[in-house]
Symmetry: C2
């Protein structure tokens, strides 16, 4: 890359701002803009369904409230803040804004995960910028940190806790020994989890964020569908008991790691050593560890969601746009193609639940041995019935795919009364 090629495009300075989506984040952004930056930015439009219900007294009477996105497109607006979320109609709004000569700041993780690269091209084609710092880890400035503060390093891995709901639920199972379904119901009652918990619990929310992180940190041209998700629904209170014996806890871990031409990437529950900063993450906090060839592990953490923290990320992007003058500061479209597989080389934890009889350990050991996997230890807690007996095998470091093939073979044997559960054990 010749010096200077990325700074050739002219971008209009930022001043007039429209908000699409006046929910928790949209309102928090409007508050910050009106309290701290009213001399710097002019909020000209608030676009929402049913604006009558949304109107607030603390915004300037000059703000135009509208239910028609055409009003925003037609207006002399410099930047659209897209804070509605979801793929559509938000995607159409973002595209129309870019095409009509407006830069866009968005907090929309699903939109950026699924359509970010093409939207970056639309932005470039129209001399505009597309920033999405708020789409990952809420108020934690991790995307700007990766893109700017760590620009001088060659990053090879990212690993993090990106979903506060899963963290809440797993902590609940861990502390109270509650069944998974009870912990989920409580999270829903308290408003930490949606009525439809799939996005959080089955990993799709975290997967969108990991997709974006992988692009920005690792320049990986990766789509969310390429990243394997495993639900946390399979985690039981007994898994925490075994995890504690192994000086670990269990968390929903999102990680991606470059290995030559392969990208190992997955969102899955994993055993995390208690000494890891990942193990200390509480409630709605998010934490990301970025690993560089030169700088080693760098940790970013803070509030991963919520109106005000997310609004900080949106306003920070807006300020960056306004200071950027003619420099293009949008993340670039990622360029590196990788073979993507959920294939990390780590130690593993496998919990079997069996109807006990002689020869089970021998059968399991034989199959692991056939797959050239070394058993590290066998753990069995007393006090369970012989007809529904859980025990754990830990394995020395090897590829996740190898473990899964072996466990699939073992799962076919008739002593299993539940499907075996295999989890990575993160290194210290």
């Amino acid at each position: 890359v010749k010096f200077g090629t990325e700074i050739s495009r002219e971008v209009a300075p930022v001043r007039k701002v429209a908000i699409a989506g006046f929910g928790t984040v949209g309102q928090a952004v409007a508050k910050i803009l009106s309290e701290r930056y009213h001399e710097r930015f002019e909020l000209t439009h608030v676009f929402n369904r049913d604006v009558a219900r949304k109107r607030v007294p603390w915004l300037s009477s000059l703000v135009q409230w509208t239910e028609n996105f055409d009003d925003v497109v037609a207006a002399d607006v410099d930047v659209l803040l897209e804070l509605a979320g979801g793929l559509e109609p938000a995607g159409t709004w973002v595209r129309r804004a870019l095409e009509s000569g407006k830069s866009v700041v968005t907090a929309n993780k699903q939109l950026i995960a699924h359509h970010g690269p093409e939207l970056i091209e639309v932005a470039q084609a129209h001399g505009q910028q597309l920033l999405f710092g708020a789409s990952v880890a809420g108020g934690v400035p991790v995307l700007s940190g990766l893109q700017q503060g760590l620009a001088g390093d060659k990053l090879v891995a990212v690993c993090g806790i990106l979903n506060g709901t899963c963290n809440f639920i797993l902590t609940k199972v861990e502390r109270d020994g509650a069944p998974f379904s009870d912990a989920l119901a409580e999270a829903q009652q308290l408003g930490f989890a949606e009525a439809d918990s799939t996005d959080d619990v089955d990993g799709f929310d975290a997967r969108a964020k990991l997709t974006i992180l992988s692009r920005v940190a690792l320049d990986a041209a990766v789509a969310p569908e390429q990243i394997a998700c495993r639900s946390i629904r399979t985690i039981q209170s007994i898994d925490f008991e075994y995890a504690h014996d192994l000086k670990c806890t269990i968390r929903q871990i999102s990680r991606a790691e470059v290995n030559g031409h392969a990208l190992a990437a997955s969102v899955a529950p994993a055993l995390v050593p208690r000494t890891s900063p990942l193990a200390a993450v509480q409630g709605g906090q998010n934490l990301v560890v970025a690993t560089g060839v030169s700088g080693g592990d760098i940790v970013f953490s803070g509030a991963g969601a919520g109106g005000n923290p997310t609004a900080v990320a949106v306003v920070s992007d807006l300020l960056a746009l306004s200071a950027a003058n003619r420099a293009v500061i949008s993340p670039a479209r990622p360029q590196s193609s990788y073979f993507v597989a959920p294939d990390f080389t780590t130690a593993h934890y496998v919990r079997f639940t069996v109807s006990d009889r002689p020869g089970i350990i021998a059968a399991i050991a034989r199959i692991f041995s056939e797959h050239e996997i070394n058993i590290d230890a066998i753990l069995q807690k007393p006090g369970y019935p012989k007809t529904n007996l859980p025990f754990v095998v830990t394995l020395e470091p090897c590829k996740t795919s190898t473990v899964e093939r072996a466990v699939n073979d073992i799962a076919k044997l008739d002593f299993n009364v539940k499907a075996p559960l295999s989890l990575s054990i993160l290194p210290r």
Copy 2:
């Protein structure tokens, strides 16, 4: 501030680069530039004393090695990387580079702490930029995070562990029960501490970094001399025993906090709750917590020193310069004047060492009461001689200055065989 005022100055694009100071950091920077960015930046000069001794075979033969800074000043260089450290002659080099139309990237914490604001003005006067992301916390991208990623928040406090040597020594005293002098000697033998340990142990190194953090995070126009430093030399192994009983450890803590027109700021050993991320910082790691009105606590951590991590910060600044086009990205000269005092409102720990006799507790309690300080608890471990008896009083939250006045009064009483030691207890 009117929109656009900060983006009016033209800054030349970056291409030709000179390095002043070819030590550990300078060499690491040169390696990264030649391995990853040889098409983007041209290293034209390496300036050092005794260059014959410094020459390396892996740099292009086109690089000019020089012992004369005039060569750099006269050359067509876009950016000087000042990696020599110390106030002088580094300060003169930086000034001359700026005055001759070169932007500067520096890792020099003392220079920026003592002369940063005037050097920023020199840079502005000559249409150049001055970046110093590497001057605080080595490879941890905290300055860029504060300046860009958290730009949209109103930050009110920073708190961190900014000196790896102190961390090493305190950990040693904690784990081995070693006397302070032994732990220091070992740190020196292992190369973690300089022969002259004052800068590290007495807090001047951390104070320079806290000065810079306070300017960038809090816009505080503060000079290093305004920030009180307290040495960690007074910490004894018994303090860790009491700290553990209080579910704490002891760390050298650098912190600054805005309270109306006052800035509470200090570098001092303090009790840190074991659950705090500050308590988990190991060896040479650095960690900074920035607290914002909207986003709450954001944590940055990673390698705080070392050639490669520091080089990442230098190269990241260089990349930012090259992408900035006409935008000014140097931190601004701080504008907010505060009354600066080491005056935090926290709980406190006071360790007395006395020649035991009746009435000591009564005397101490009376003086604390006269200063309107509430005693929380009195702790005394068995097994010490009556003539040299340590015990600890913990105090309910009040101002550090109030505690110090009371402790000074108590120190005058003749039962003391050592000066009392008072430490803040950081909140959870």
